[in-house]
Every structure is written in structure tokens, then in C-alpha cells.
Amino acid sequence: MTQKIMIVDDDPDVTKFLDIMFRHNGYETCIAPDGKAAVEVFLKEKPDLITLDLEMPEEWGPRFFRKISKAKGFNTPVIVISGVSGREFSIPKAKAFFAKPFDADEVLRKAREILSE
């Protein structure tokens, strides 16, 4: 079964980049432009992995994470991709942190590694 990656970022060009990259490498994707929309998308699409930006309009990444992680049985891995400094402390449970600009191959390698666990 194809695995699904949810991309949460307010910059449409970044989401497009990640979207094409993941799909080109055989994953399904779904996209949310901010933390608020991300909750709905998350519940509807049930992704296997989330890439999450921190600073977004409406709702910030950490808040979105707190919301969805409260649900029973939540164990979806999260990769933080953000330009905010101090990102390591924002979501302690995240599997990986990438700074913007990020190395596409590194992100892909990490996603593959997490999804094959």
C-alpha cells in the first residue's frame, strides 16, 4: 500500500516542491496551508508522516501538533522543516528537524527511513 505524507506549510512554492519530490519518489501526498486546516486534512487523510512548518498564519505548527497528538493512539511521526531558530525545542517529539533552506535528498532519506520502521 502506498504511504501518504502530509505537507504543512504556508508557502505554496515549498509545498509544491515537497509535493513533487515525494510523489516522484512513490509516495502519496496531501497538503495543508496552515495549522488550522491541517487538523481537518489530518483527520480526513490519515497520513503516515507529517512534514511541518512552525511559523504559519492562523495556527502555528506547535499548536497544531498539540491538538492532534492529544487524540488516543496518536503516533504519526513528524518531521519539522522550518527557518525559525530554536526549532529543536518547539516539538520535542518530532522525529527530525530540518532548517530552511533544506537539502531535498536529506529530507527524502529521512522520510524513507522513518516510514520503513
Binding site: D13, V14, K16, F17, I20, G83, A99
Partner: protein, 495 residues
């Protein structure tokens, strides 16, 4: 040494001539008083030896005449042994000595020696008197010169220098000070500089009077042309010869340019940090374009290449404008002032803040011009708006901080037009601000909101109000209220 011998008796005269010539004196002679006075005038003798008894003008009269007209000539009287009384009288009248006849050679020598000693002493005395006078004259000239130089130094130093007494009263001021503040002698320094009615608690003058050491402070003053300047003031003690401190000298240097530079650098730094986040996003987008173009080229997918190139183009454009923005900011931005309608301005401000106020249940009271009023202010709207917005946001934050303990949260905004200035007041009944922090709130990166505040808001507000040649004042009681008053000049003041 020339001696005039006045002797009517020829034999006695010859005798003296012989004796004195052998002693290497130069001798001129006269037979009576009248002849003697003529030879004194022409022959300029150093010593006159005269018989008391002379035909015509007698010896005593001759003595009196000599002492009156030629006081430097020493006179030795010659008298018979029985005639001592007149000889003693002559001593009282200024004769140096007398000799009696018949003549004893040693007594003559002694008399002459005494006369010569007196002449010598007089020469010495007059010489040293003359030296002393020259010395005094020279010293006086030097003293006057150095005094003039010190006054010049004091006057021409490019700082404001005043000397104050223990009561902070100005007793002396240099030229630069006088030119700025007029004759302020007798006035209090804190009043002249800052319009205060008493010295500040941490006044450096006070400290110097206490410990004799130099102290510094910085103050903001308004010059007579309306300009606000930063002065760095240093004090030093002036002591009397016993080392007791009598006066304090205050030297204030204009450091406004340094302040502007500091602010400018800080603002530039903050500008860069704020755009660095944006740049990171742009670079990610650029990477995306790159990735898509590469992928498109690998697979011969023209559409993918076009999409990627579109993204890349868009990001390049943004990066270009951002770089131009940085270049623009690194220059000194001059205000672009226009007449701005006060009602519209306040409306825009209030509208911007309305959602946050509503969210926290803060009510707004406005004492501002009515719609359609033509009241206007002369401002650079963008710059000044940022200032008032920062203060307004601060008021909202102050209210939110006491949200749980205060029944009614309220922010009042008012505008008052005066003759020379326009006052904007923003008052909140939030948490208030302790006095010691009232100055600090304007410094860069000061924040009492934990990680919620950036410490930039009021720093920027201060900066933009200063650019408008205005001032921000704070009134506050902790736990009760805070009121910010922004005063800007009504008419444009151009330097």
C-alpha cells in the same frame, strides 16, 4: 671717584689736594659756596668735602642745597675742633661725616670710606630695586597672558562647560553654553538643562560633591531651535588650596550622532534578523524550482521545467526586492511628511487594534476629533503609525496581563491640539509600570512579557517619535494605569 673740595684757605686746600691725589681720587676744587655750586652742576662730583665756614654762602647752606637738588652726592663737613655743634647738626641734615682741623689723615680716610660705602650701597639698592621691578613686570605680564589663555581655552572648548556651587547654582559658563542658554549665571543647572525643579536623584554633581570623583551621566535636552540632543555630561571637583571641594565643573558633550549611529545599527540588525527568516523561505522555494527543473530535464517533462522556472523566477524577483530593501534601509531614511487628517489616522489605528481588543474584552474610549473634522497633523504617516501602534499594542498587552483580576478593561485614546504641539495620549488601566522601568522600556530588546515580547516595539516608537522631533512621556502607577503621551511639534521645524 671724583671729589669736590670747597676750602677758602689755600694752604689747607693744597694739603687736601696732595693727600687725596695720592689716594687716587680725582680732585676738583672751589674757594667758596657759589663757585662750589657751579662746579657741582658742571663737574658732577660723587663726594663734596666742604668747610663749614665759607665766604658768602656758608657750608651748612651748601649742604642743604646739595641734599635738596643732588641727594646722591655725599657731603663731608670740615670744621675746627671748637665748632662741633654745627658739625653734628650737619649730620642730622644728611652729611655723611665730619672731619676736624687740624687734619688727621686716618680720620679723613675713614670719612671717605664711609661716604663711599654709602654710595655703593645706594647703587646696589637701586640696582636690585630695578631688578625687582622688572621681575614683577615680567611676572605680571605672564600671569595676564596665561589667564587670558585659560579663559580662551575655557571659552573655546567645543563642549558646554559650567561651574556650579553646592546649591547647583551656575557661577560661570563658557561661550558655547552662553550661546545656547544665554546668561544663566545664578540659575540652577538642572533647571537650565532640563527644566527640572530639583536635581535628579542620581545627579552626578551631587555625587562629585560627596566623593570628589568624576561622574558621568547622559541626558536628553532640547536646544533653542527645538532640536532634541543627547549630551554626555562629566563632572569634576574644583578644590581650594586646602583640598576642600568648593565647586564642581560640568562638561557636557553632544553625543547625538553616536546615539543616532547606535540606533541605526540596532535597527539595521533587527531589520536583517526579520528578513533573514524571509530569505530562508525564499531559498527553499528556489531549491524547489531547481529540483523541478532538474526533474523535468531528466524526464523530458517541459511542463515541469516551466513550473520550476516560474517558481525560480518569482523567488529571484523577491530576493532582488529584499536586497534593495536592505540597501535602502542602510541609508538614512528621511521623513516624508504630509498633512494627515487626525480622524482618519486614529480610525485606522483603532481599526487595526479592534480585533485584539474585542478578543480580550477591552473597551475603547475616544476623545478624538469627530468625523469630517479638518484637524490635521504634519507627519510621515507610515513611520508615525508604527510608533502609535507599538504603544497601543503595549496598552493591550498591559490590559491582558491583568485580565483575570480586573472587572473592566479600558483603553482611552485622546488627541489634543495645542498651539505648538499635538498631544496623543493612550491610557490603559492595565498592570502599570514601576517608575524605575519607565525609562528602560524604550531600550532595545527590553521586554517584560517573557518570550511573548520582542523588546522592539517601544524602541521603534521612540525612534520614530524622535525623528518627528517629538517626545514620549510615561505616567504610570503599578497595578492601576499607564499613560503614554506622544507630543510632536505642530508646525514643521526644519533645521
Amino acid at each position: 671717584m671724583r671729589i669736590l673740595l670747597v676750602e677758602p684757605d689755600e694752604k689747607t686746600r693744597k694739603f687736601f689736594e696732595d693727600v687725596l691725589s695720592r689716594e687716587n681720587y680725582e680732585i676738583i676744587t672751589a674757594g667758596d659756596g657759589t663757585e662750589a655750586s657751579g662746579k657741582i652742576r658742571t663737574g658732577a662730583p660723587d663726594i663734596v668735602m666742604t668747610d663749614i665756614r665759607l665766604p658768602g654762602m656758608d657750608g651748612v647752606s651748601l649742604l642743604q642745597w646739595i641734599k635738596q637738588d643732588y641727594p646722591d652726592i655725599e657731603v663731608i663737613m670740615i670744621t675746627g675742633l671748637g665748632d662741633l655743634q654745627p658739625a653734628i647738626d650737619c649730620l642730622k641734615m644728611g652729611a655723611v661725616d665730619f672731619i676736624t682741623t687740624p687734619v688727621i689723615l686716618d680720620i679723613v680716610k675713614i670719612a671717605l670710606k664711609r661716604a663711599m660705602d654709602r654710595i655703593e650701597n645706594r647703587i646696589k639698592l637701586s640696582l636690585s630695586t630695578r631688578n625687582l621691578e622688572t621681575l614683577v613686570r615680567e611676572k605680571t605680564r605672564k600671569l595676564a597672558e596665561s589667564e587670558k589663555r585659560y579663559i580662551q581655552l575655557f571659552d573655546e572648548l567645543p563642549s558646554f562647560i559650567i561651574i556650579v556651587d553646592k546649591n547647583f547654582k551656575i557661577i560661570e559658563a563658557n561661550k558655547m553654553f552662553r550661546e545656547q542658554y544665554g546668561d544663566a549665571t545664578g540659575r540652577y543647572c538642572y533647571n537650565v538643562y532640563q527644566g527640572l525643579s530639583k536635581p535628579l536623584p542620581d545627579c552626578p554633581v551631587k555625587k562629585t560633591f560627596r566623593d570628589k570623583k568624576s561622574h558621568t551621566t547622559e541626558m536628553e535636552v532640547t536646544f533653542k531651535n527645538g532640536e532634541t540632543r543627547n549630551l554626555l555630561m562629566q563632572t569634576s571637583a574644583i578644590t581650594d588650596p586646602d583640598g576642600r571641594i568648593v565647586h564642581v565643573m560640568e562638561m557636557a558633550t553632544d553625543v547625538t550622532v553616536i546615539h543616532q549611529l547606535q540606533d541605526h545599527l540596532a535597527a539595521l540588525g533587527l531589520h536583517i534578523s526579520s528578513i533573514s527568516h524571509g530569505i530562508k523561505g525564499l531559498l527553499s522555494g528556489l531549491d524547489g524550482g531547481d529540483y523541478m527543473i532538474t526533474l523535468g530535464l531528466e524526464n523530458g517533462d517541459t511542463e515541469m521545467i516551466r513550473d520550476g522556472w516560474d517558481i525560480a523566477k518569482k523567488k529571484i524577483k523577491l530576493i532582488r526586492s529584499m536586497i534593495l530593501d536592505i540597501l535602502y534601509h542602510s541609508k538614512d531614511r528621511t521623513l516624508e511628511r504630509k498633512s494627515v487628517n487626525v480622524f482618519d489616522f486614529i480610525q485606522e489605528l483603532v481599526t487595526t487594534m479592534a480585533p485584539r481588543m474585542k478578543e480580550h474584552g477591552i473597551s475603547l474610549v475616544q476623545e478624538t476629533p469627530k468625523p469630517n473634522s479638518d484637524e490635521a497633523v504634519w507627519i510621515d504617516k507610515t513611520v508615525f503609525f508604527a510608533a502609535l501602534l507599538a504603544i497601543f499594542e503595549n496598552a493591550v498587552d498591559a490590559c491582558v496581563a491583568v485580565k483575570d483580576i480586573r472587572d473592566k478593561l479600558e483603553i482611552k485614546i485622546s488627541v489634543e491640539q495645542k498651539d505648538k504641539e499635538t498631544l496623543f495620549r493612550i491610557r490603559d488601566n492595565g498592570k502599570g509600570l514601576a517608575r524605575k522601568y519607565q525609562k528602560e522600556v524604550f531600550s532595545l530588546f527590553y521586554s517584560d512579557k517573557g518570550n511573548k515580547g520582542t523588546g522592539l516595539g517601544l524602541f521603534i516608537a521612540q525612534r520614530s517619535v524622535k525623528q518627528h522631533r517629538g517626545v514620549i512621556r510615561i505616567n504610570s502607577t503599578p497595578g492601576q494605569y499607564t499613560e503614554f503621551t506622544v507630543a510632536i511639534p505642530a508646525q514643521p521645524v526644519e533645521s
